[in-house]
């Protein structure tokens, strides 16, 4: 496999439509890179959640601010960056959505989903001073892509059924 890094970036407006646009673009890259259906779903969802986070929390839905999306495709993995123009945040300050007291919260699950669905996930201080989400997924090895591609470490639910 070639060691060349493919790089793609786009600047998005702070509006709801940017969420779908970012998801669609990254899905095309993921499909072209050979990810299976389940991994594409997880990547698409993670990109959605990253851009929703930038739109809502980072840029506070202010239309004069931008969201910067970048995708790097290396020989090993697909790396996605989502940068906002907010004030940044620390992961340690994000409430655990699985805590009993937060289960019925109507928000605060985006970071959790990105962590669950991607292989690597971090939030750093970006060049704008805002938060930069950096997340990646390992490329499938040749012949291994399947509709049941492996998710992140935390992606497998282990709970009893009810109802």
């Amino acid at each position: 496999m070639a060691s060349e890094i493919k790089h793609l970036e786009m600047t998005l407006e702070t509006q709801v439509e940017s969420v779908n646009l970012a998801e669609e673009m990254c899905l095309r890259v993921a499909e072209a890179a050979g990810f299976g259906e389940d991994d594409c779903y997880r990547i698409g969802m993670s990109v959605r959640e990253g851009v929703i986070n930038a739109f809502h929390y980072g840029n506070e839905e202010r239309p004069e601010k931008k969201i910067y999306l970048a995708v790097d495709l290396t020989a090993e993995k697909m790396i996605i960056h989502v940068l906002d123009e907010g004030v940044g945040f620390k992961l340690i300050d994000v409430p655990d959505p699985l805590a009993e007291e937060n289960l019925l919260s109507t928000s605060g699950r985006g970071i959790f989903l990105m962590r669950a669905f991607m292989d690597e996930f971090d939030v750093v201080s970006g060049r704008t001073g805002g938060a930069e989400i950096v997340m990646s997924k390992k490329l499938p090895t040749p012949g291994s892509a399947s509709p049941n591609g492996q998710g992140g470490q935390n992606a497998t639910p282990q709970q009893e059924e009810q109802g």
């Binding site: 959605r48 929703i52 959505p97 699985l98 289960l103 009810q162 109802g163």
Partner: protein
């Protein structure tokens, strides 16, 4: 694919048939409007049929929880029917599968309100 919602009455229970994606924007807004509309009409026993909903993001999850809480606050109940695999997995990893009553048969969902 945007969200579509229709509802039908089965005795005191209202079944809401949803299809499409429940995501940030129109999808979440339509779900909110539908549930709030039913509550205004005093329809407080609600089953959301999610058979044709194959995608929910965190905004959609938030709207499901918001609807659940709003119905409970009016002494009603909101239950889920026919989860697709992706939606079921999502509710499981967010631990909401244990919060909602979930059914695989509509008749069982309707009986559960008795």
């Amino acid at each position: 694919m945007s969200l579509h919602a229709t509802h039908r009455d089965a005795g005191k229970v209202t079944v809401v048939d949803l299809s499409g994606r429940i995501t940030l924007g129109d999808g979440s807004a339509l779900l909110r409007k539908t549930i709030r509309g039913l509550l205004e009409d005093q329809r407080k026993m609600i089953v959301l049929n999610l058979a044709d909903v194959d995608y929910i993001d965190s905004s959609g999850i938030g709207e499901l929880v918001s609807g659940f809480t709003a119905v409970k606050n009016q002494s009603g109940d909101l239950k889920l029917l026919h989860l697709t695999k992706k939606v079921k997995d999502l509710l499981q990893i967010t631990k909401l599968y244990t919060v909602f009553d979930v059914f695989t048969e509509e008749s069982a969902a309707l009986r559960s309100f008795n």
